[in-house]
């Protein structure tokens, strides 16, 4: 038994915001209330800290199997736990691609042997994510996938999107789309605009994303399937989601911390500023923040994309896309959204908990009988991120050395503290 004392319980699902004790028993929440006494329980003093439902990350890359030089399930989940995440959804673009049940089971087994963070695999939509034929989605669902995606790229054709969506609606699985038009993307390395022109780097127009988002929303309307747009970075795509929601479609979306923190004007010849989708314009960044505040955006997802240092230590246009993100996500949310007065703390917690849970068709709340996944964090503790101290195998973050206000304090999964400060 674990008794979390004196924390400020913040739960979007039950609209709770008050100082209470939470008692965990086994892998379940036993009770919530003032001054709970449980003489046998281990006590965690959460005074001054927030006690929230366990954070879920809808989008990460754990690189296993196949790219263990960059990350493993073990190192990735240790990094996730430090960031306050109790569950992470890992994308299928591993080597080989997670497009069948045996690979899914392998990931689930490796995760069970790791530090305790729940790993929910996402299966490929098409075999090898090649965009030709449907992957073994039903078998992967039985093995534990929570969604499908050909992440790294969009599902190749509208026709295949339709098939995947039709099939996934009978399986009640969301289809996660990485939206980009390959012909407009064409070798680009950052967002097209004044900054790309100045740096002489090949630009990707915003429409690369929005055109694909438009296609996918249309097919979600055609099929009635659940569509989730990954790492959204443009006003155009956001407007498609806004309209789709208004029309009652089952369309959701996520935004990464780097897309609400950095913009294209921040890009310099440093490959830690190279990610896909690329950093957006100031106007798009402001629109994304507005969407995060007003509910159009359902979740903050990290798109944690570790790359071995040697692969990033190259010319900008030769480097792979992506940055790590588990350990800075909450701190960026607090620093950039809450402490700037743009967003209420409750809404930020929602974007890490009930928001992503809803995308997956799950529940996340602090109530008796619920799973005992809890994230405890400080909204105002000042700290400096040192990537050299990260348990991740990779070092590709533009936030190394940045000082934040707010950080995770303890991560509890199934009633067990898997990480504490």
């Amino acid at each position: 038994m674990l008794l979390i004392k004196n924390g400020r319980v913040l739960d979007p699902a039950t609209k709770t915001d008050s100082v209470q004790d939470v008692l965990l028993s086994g892998d379940r929440i036993e009770k919530i209330g003032a001054d709970i006494s449980a003489p046998d329980a281990e006590v965690f003093d959460a005074k001054g800290n927030i006690v929230a439902p366990g954070f879920i990350d809808l989008h990460c890359h754990l690189r296993e199997p196949g790219q263990e030089m960059s990350e493993t399930i073990e190192t990735g989940t240790r990094s996730a736990a430090r960031g306050g995440f109790t569950a992470v959804c890992c994308m299928p673009n591993t080597q080989p691609v997670n497009d069948n049940a045996s690979i899914t089971r392998g990931i689930v087994d490796r995760a069970a042997a790791a530090n305790g963070v729940r790993v929910w695999p996402i299966g490929a939509a098409s075999i090898g994510s090649k965009g030709e034929a449907l992957a073994e989605i039903a078998a992967m669902k039985d093995a534990g996938i929570v969604a499908v995606s050909d992440d790294g790229k969009p599902i190749a054709t509208a026709r295949l999107v339709r098939q995947v969506m039709d099939y996934c609606s009978t399986l009640n699985l969301p289809v996660i789309e990485h939206c980009e038009d390959p012909s407009l993307f064409a070798g680009g390395v950052m967002r097209e605009g004044p900054r790309s022109i100045r740096l002489g780097l090949k630009g990707i127009p915003a429409q690369s994303e929005s055109i694909c988002a438009g296609r996918d929303v249309e097919i979600a309307a055609l099929t009635g399937a659940r569509l989730h747009i990954a790492h959204m970075s443009t006003t155009g795509a956001l407007e498609y989601v806004r309209a789709a929601k208004k029309n009652g479609l089952k369309v959701t979306c996520e935004v990464t911390p780097h897309h609400f923190t950095l913009i294209d004007e921040d890009v310099r010849y440093d490959t830690n500023y190279k990610m896909n989708p690329p950093l957006a314009s100031r106007q798009d960044c402001d629109a994304l923040i507005a969407g995060l505040v007003d509910g159009t955006v359902d979740a903050i997802a990290t798109d944690h994309a570790p790359h071995h240092p040697a692969s990033k230590d190259v010319e900008f246009d030769r480097a792979p896309f992506g940055i790590t993100g588990f350990e800075t996500a909450l701190a960026l949310g607090l620093s950039e959204l809450v402490h700037t007065g743009k967003m209420k703390l409750m809404r930020l917690v929602e974007l890490f908990t009930t928001g992503p849970a809803r995308v997956l068709g799950m529940e996340r709340k602090i109530a008796p009988g619920q799973v005992a996944d809890v994230t405890i964090f400080s909204p105002d503790q000042t700290w400096t991120y040192r990537i050299a101290d990260s348990p991740s195998k990779s070092r590709n973050s533009p936030f190394d050395g940045r000082t934040f206000k707010g950080t995770s304090v303890a991560t509890i999964v199934a009633g067990r503290i898997i990480w504490r400060q």
Partner: protein, 324 residues
């Protein structure tokens, strides 16, 4: 006070004073090219590494000759012989060169920002000899020297740049440099090669779509090479380009009568420029080549020779108000 240069990575971050200094330093080297015996001992014992990761003939020969005439030895690395082909990283290749203890390195690379990456990691002066579609600073310096010599000044001149501006490092460096001197810059070319964001690069930059309008009142015209090898972009028909943008004698008449014609080379006669213009009295093409030597000698002298003409600026002390 003049800030001493550590590297020459681009024009964008240079001050007008630093640019003027380099142009002034080039003057004696321009004279020097006329000497019968073209060898100085200034950099004797120094070694300049020439690392050309992208094919280049004229720029490489120009740097090699500049180094030789200053008395320096050169180490040559060319794309064809490069171990990059064997999978070695750029940084490892360059660190290998560094271990042979050159006193400076000249880099040509197809990736924008590659010289910056090297300058950040190595402890020696880096000269950018053209990086991707970013900058080609020595080209802009030699162009400015050529224009300044002929016109006596840069301030207030009207310059027109013709061609594929989007993919041109020559255009970027020239825009950055000349706008610092109050030159009015007009960009003209097929519209997909002249995006509106170019106007945000510097003050006094405008786009004009019709060549006849773009040439009005021009004091100098830079004709860019049409890069036919640019295969990853949708092509424009050669005939269309010639029809719309070739600099012909008739079109040249629309500019000021004494307008200069510059071309960074290699020039493709009959494509972007008509023979009569290339060989005409207004053409500065060969003068640019000679000035390129002078500029590169001045730079190597300054960067590799450690020819500190002026000391680095002292940190500005905050005014002590109690003593005023």
């Amino acid at each position: 006070m003049l800030q001493r240069l550590e590297h020459l990575l681009g024009i964008e971050d240079l001050t007008r004073e630093q640019i003027s200094f380099i142009l002034d330093q080039a003057a004696p080297f321009q004279e020097f090219q006329k000497h019968p015996l073209k060898k100085l001992a200034t950099l004797r014992g120094k070694t300049v590494a020439l690392a050309f990761f992208e094919n280049s003939t004229r720029t490489r020969i120009s740097f090699a000759t500049a180094a030789a005439r200053l008395g320096a030895d050169t180490m040559n690395l060319q794309a064809e012989s490069s171990s990059l082909k064997k999978g070695e990283s750029l940084l490892d290749t360059v660190r290998t060169l560094e271990a042979m203890r050159p006193d400076g390195i000249v880099i040509r690379h197809s990736s924008s920002g590659a010289p910056q990456l090297i300058a950040d990691r190595l402890g020696m002066p880096v000269v950018n000899a053209g990086d991707g579609t970013h900058e080609h600073p020595t080209q802009a310096l030699l162009d400015a020297l050529t224009i300044r010599d002929r016109k006596g000044k840069l301030e207030g001149l009207n310059l027109t740049i013709l061609g594929d501006i989007l993919h041109s490092r020559v255009a970027r460096s020239n825009i950055f440099l000349l706008s610092k001197f109050g030159v009015n810059i007009t960009l003209c070319g097929p519209s997909m090669w002249v995006p509106r964001e170019l106007e945000s690069l510097a003050p006094n930059v405008r786009r004009v779509s019709r060549i006849d309008d773009a040439l009005q009142n021009a004091d100098a015209i830079i004709v860019l090479r049409v890069q036919t090898e640019r295969l990853h972009e949708p092509a424009i028909a050669t005939e269309e380009y010639i029809l719309g943008y070739q600099l012909t004698p008739a079109r040249l008449k629309l500019a000021r009568p004494d307008a200069l014609v510059l071309h960074p080379g290699p020039m493709i006669r009959g494509l972007e420029i008509d023979d009569a213009v290339a060989d005409g009295p207004q053409s500065c093409v060969l003068e640019q080549v000679t000035n390129g030597l002078a500029i590169r000698m001045a730079l190597l002298y300054h960067l590799v020779g450690g020819a500190a003409v002026e000391a680095p600026p002292a940190k500005e002390k905050p005014k002590d108000s109690t003593k005023d």
